[in-house]
């Protein structure tokens, strides 16, 4: 527990140092309005990282999140075009439900057919992208085709923050409660920490993984609508490759790829770290190629740090070592 806490502290410290470094070159970056904009911009990544974290906790991985997002986003946009009067609440429900359904499809394949998650989601990633092409004929849904209310929702400002940011904040809290205070949350940790022990304790490993994929899918679906309405465009390739950023955010946030270790705080901080880098580097005139190299280095450094922290320190046999502890 103390290791996890300190890991989150290290990450928070790293983000603060990063922001200060950027501020020395470009003071306007730390203006509250700009920091709020960075947070808002990172909100989709935060939401997806929370879903991905749950999946990774159970020793799985969900590579289909970005494709799920794009497909759900396209469906929402097409509903809006077909029936511009559809209330945003209905669109939100459709987005979450469709996303969850796509996640459940992954989950069922992993649970009932025992296919490795990386293979399942690699497959569905392509399938979901393909479906977008089929339903849209490869055409774009552009800003002028979308209704005003459809586009306004994520931007609507409440108490100084846009709706998109509020959704990220509220769902962070909701999932924090789920992960720390519910039996299902506990099951996610148990399944990843030691699947064999989980079985003997009466936890159904496959079913728990199914629910992890469902959560990840539902979040991806929600982000699908938010993404499409925020950028006011939907097409086959939106958020292409974004699943890698999501996994990276989790890894930076200290979620163990081998399962069982991680926290909501870690996932959110990992996403914020990447968000700050992505937003700051263009501002201080770093070329896009360097940006990629820097993001990549951050991931490798994070993994190296996690691995060191996780390494066992050997058994305590000496009496003095025991006393020192």
């Amino acid at each position: 527990m103390s290791i996890l806490k300190s890991r989150e502290m290290i990450l928070t410290g790293a983000i603060v140092v990063l922001v200060i470094l950027i501020a020395t070159r470009f003071p306007a970056f730390v203006a509250p309005s700009n920091l709020a904009a960075v947070f808002n911009d990172t909100s989709p990544l935060i939401l997806l990282a929370i879903g991905q974290m749950i999946v990774i906790l159970t020793k799985c991985i969900d590579l289909s999140v970005a494709a799920n997002l794009a497909l759900t986003g396209m469906v929402c946009a097409m509903i809006n075009v077909a029936a511009p009067g559809t209330p945003v609440v209905v669109i939100l429900i459709v987005a979450i439900a469709l996303g969850a359904l796509l996640g459940m499809f992954n989950g069922v394949l992993v649970w009932k057919l025992d296919i490795p998650p990386i293979v399942v989601t690699l497959g569905t990633m392509t399938i979901y992208r393909g479906i977008i092409f089929l339903i849209s004929d490869g055409k774009w849904v552009n800003s002028h085709e979308m209704s005003g209310a459809f586009k306004a929702f994520p931007r609507a400002v409440l108490l100084g923050l846009p709706m998109l940011s509020w959704i990220a904040i509220i769902l962070t809290i909701v999932f924090f409660v789920i992960m720390t205070r519910t039996t299902l949350g506990r099951a996610f940790y148990a399944v990843g920490g030691n699947p064999h022990a989980a079985v003997y304790t009466g936890i159904d490993v496959g079913k728990t993984q199914f629910w992890a994929f469902t959560f990840s899918g539902a979040l991806a679906g929600l982000v699908g609508y938010l993404w499409v309405s925020r950028y006011a465009v939907a097409y086959v390739d939106i958020a292409l490759g974004f699943e890698l950023d999501v996994v990276a955010a989790c890894v930076i946030g200290g979620i163990a790829i081998s399962g069982g270790i991680g926290s909501i705080g870690g996932a959110v901080l990992g996403a914020l770290f990447l968000g700050v880098i992505k937003n700051a580097l263009p501002v201080i005139n770093v070329s896009p190629f360097w940006q990629m190299a820097i993001s990549g280095s951050a991931i490798i450094i994070a993994i190296a740090v996690n691995t060191r922290a996780g390494r066992t320190k050997g058994r305590i046999i000496l009496k003095k070592a025991e006393a020192a502890q």
């Binding site: 527990m1 205070r181 299902l184 940790y189 920490g193 030691n194 064999h196 009466g202 069982g260 066992t312």
Partner: protein, 504 residues
């Protein structure tokens, strides 16, 4: 010196070999001789030191004292390669082979013939592999992929691999454990061929029919000590059993006055298509029921199906005389049956999780409402059971992975007790732990029974089974072959029934 008579002396001789592990003397001044062209059977109960001996012979462990002689020269084996270089090779219970390589590649992996350029000489390799296979009468294509062979053929490849280093001493560690009757018969013929080639063979087995079929000599170990050796032709099965189990049970077991309560569990007619059949027994409150048998007799398999992990094709479970259907481990825990599996490292604790979460994991139904965990109740539960087991840790927040092995085990036991079970199944509860911890587990088991819990103990250690159980069920080849209690509970009866030896 007397080189003329060298062929009559042992090819390999161990003299006063001692090996100590922390807390345990695994081998204490043992001796063993292996003779060219003869099969020596090494006989002993679990824990007699047979595996340690094999590891010393193959260079995996170093002895603390004593000497090993090959012919007349003293040798030592710092590494496995050194043992191989002296012509000693072992065929293990689970053969270590590579499914995606060819037969010839498997045979020569690590010592393949090379061309003058340093590359593997495939042609020579295939030719030599074919020679070796022919030598043992195996009709296997050296270029076949191992994956395409049956288990018996794989065994022959493993044996060929052992012979490819020109071994003079072949160790076979329970080679028949996974073979069918026909395959075992073929193995016997192979052993006869190896004998004819003058190899010295060490044959480790629990099965007396095998020992009397193929061995020329025997050596008996008990509790890490040499007991006797001699010619098989001069001894009877009964005498061998006698020497193997001995009379000494130095371990002290807690004294109990079993107070049998009402019947809590009744198992009727459990069948499984491949693992066990016709399992019937009853269990009472306050009773410790031992399940004895050789490894692979189907005890764990049956217990797992009783616990709802695998599904029997037929069978009824009655708990407190109520028919109870158990389709999943969750249902078993609900019904009051818990199962503490054999390999606790793999199947026990969730290592990254804090102690309190591990303890409450199987009782979350009680410490939660509508899926939400009540942390105060969860903590109280964890505190209660860790205190009962005298678990000392700085904080219940500590991840279990940071605890010592003994404390991890306490966490697992606390987890199960917290479910308030009626029946607790302990599978090999003291396997691989030191004597002090064993005594603690035994005391604890006695305490559980005294509190009215019904305990099923699966164990392969005779002293433990006899010392702890009120009644013992013996299983062999998936069936219950005997149920003994009272004065009938002797080492001889258990071994006889488990090994399938007729009454002497």
């Amino acid at each position: 010196m007397q080189s003329l008579h060298q062929s009559d002396g042992p090819a390999l001789r161990l003299d006063r070999i001692t090996k100590t592990f922390p807390g345990v003397k695994a081998l204490d001044n043992v001796q063993l001789g292996l003779y060219p062209g003869q099969v020596t059977a090494l006989v002993g109960e679990n824990g007699a030191g047979k595996s340690t001996l094999v590891k010393i012979l193959t260079g995996i462990y170093q002895p603390d004292g004593g000497a090993i002689y090959v012919g007349d020269t003293e040798v030592n084996f710092p590494t496995a390669q050194d043992a191989a270089a002296h012509g000693i090779t072992a065929i293990h219970q689970e053969t270590v082979l590579f499914d995606d390589l060819t037969v010839a590649e498997n045979i020569f992996l690590g010592h393949a013939p090379k061309t003058k350029w340093g590359l593997i000489d495939t042609r020579t390799q295939t030719r030599k592999a074919a020679e070796i296979l022919r030598g043992i009468g195996a009709e296997i294509d050296p270029q076949a992929r191992l994956r395409d062979l049956g288990i018996a053929s794989k065994h022959l490849v493993a044996i060929s691999r052992a012979l490819s280093i020109d071994a003079q001493v072949v160790i076979m560690d329970e080679p028949t454990a996974s073979l069918s009757h026909k395959e075992i018969h073929e193995l016997y013929e192979l052993v006869d061929k190896l004998k004819a080639q003058g190899k010295a063979i060490l044959f480790i087995s629990h099965k007396f029919d095998e020992i009397f079929r193929i061995a020329d000599r025997y050596t008996v170990f008990r509790d890490g000590q040499f007991v006797a050796d001699g010619l098989i032709s001069e001894i009877s099965e009964g005498e061998l059993v006698q020497m193997m189990v001995g009379r000494s049970v130095d371990q002290v077991f807690p004294k109990r006055e079993p107070l049998l309560g009402t019947e809590v569990l009744q198992v009727v007619g459990y069948d499984h298509p491949t693992e066990f059949e016709g399992i019937n027994f009853t269990l009472h409150r306050g009773e410790i029921l031992g399940f004895y048998g050789l490894v692979g007799a189907g005890r764990s398999e049956f217990m797992q199906s009783l616990f709802g992990i695998t599904k029997p094709s037929k069978g009824v479970t009655k708990i407190d005389e109520q028919i109870t259907v158990i389709r999943s481990p969750a249902a078993a825990v609900e019904a009051g049956i818990v199962y503490v599996p054999e390999d606790r490292g793999l199947q026990g604790a969730i290592r990254p999780m804090p102690i309190f979460q591990n303890v409450s994991l199987a009782s979350l139904k009680r410490t939660s409402k509508d899926g939400f965990i009540r942390l105060a109740e969860e903590f109280a539960l964890a505190r209660e059971y860790t205190q009962r087991l005298d678990l000392r840790a700085a904080s219940l927040d500590t991840p279990v992975g940071n605890l010592s092995g003994g404390n991890q085990q306490k966490v697992v036991i606390a987890k199960w007790l917290a479910t308030k079970p009626k029946v607790i199944i302990l599978d090999e509860p003291t396997k691989g732990i030191d004597i002090g911890s064993k005594a603690a587990v035994h005391d604890f088991m006695a305490e559980l029974a005294a509190q009215g819990l019904a305990v099923i103990m699966v164990s392969s250690e005779i002293p433990e089974v006899l010392g702890m159980s009120d009644r013992v069920i013996v299983m062999r080849e998936g069936k219950i072959v005997a149920e003994v209690s009272g004065d009938d509970m002797t080492p001889e009866t258990l071994v006889r029934h488990a090994a399938g030896i007729a009454e002497a």
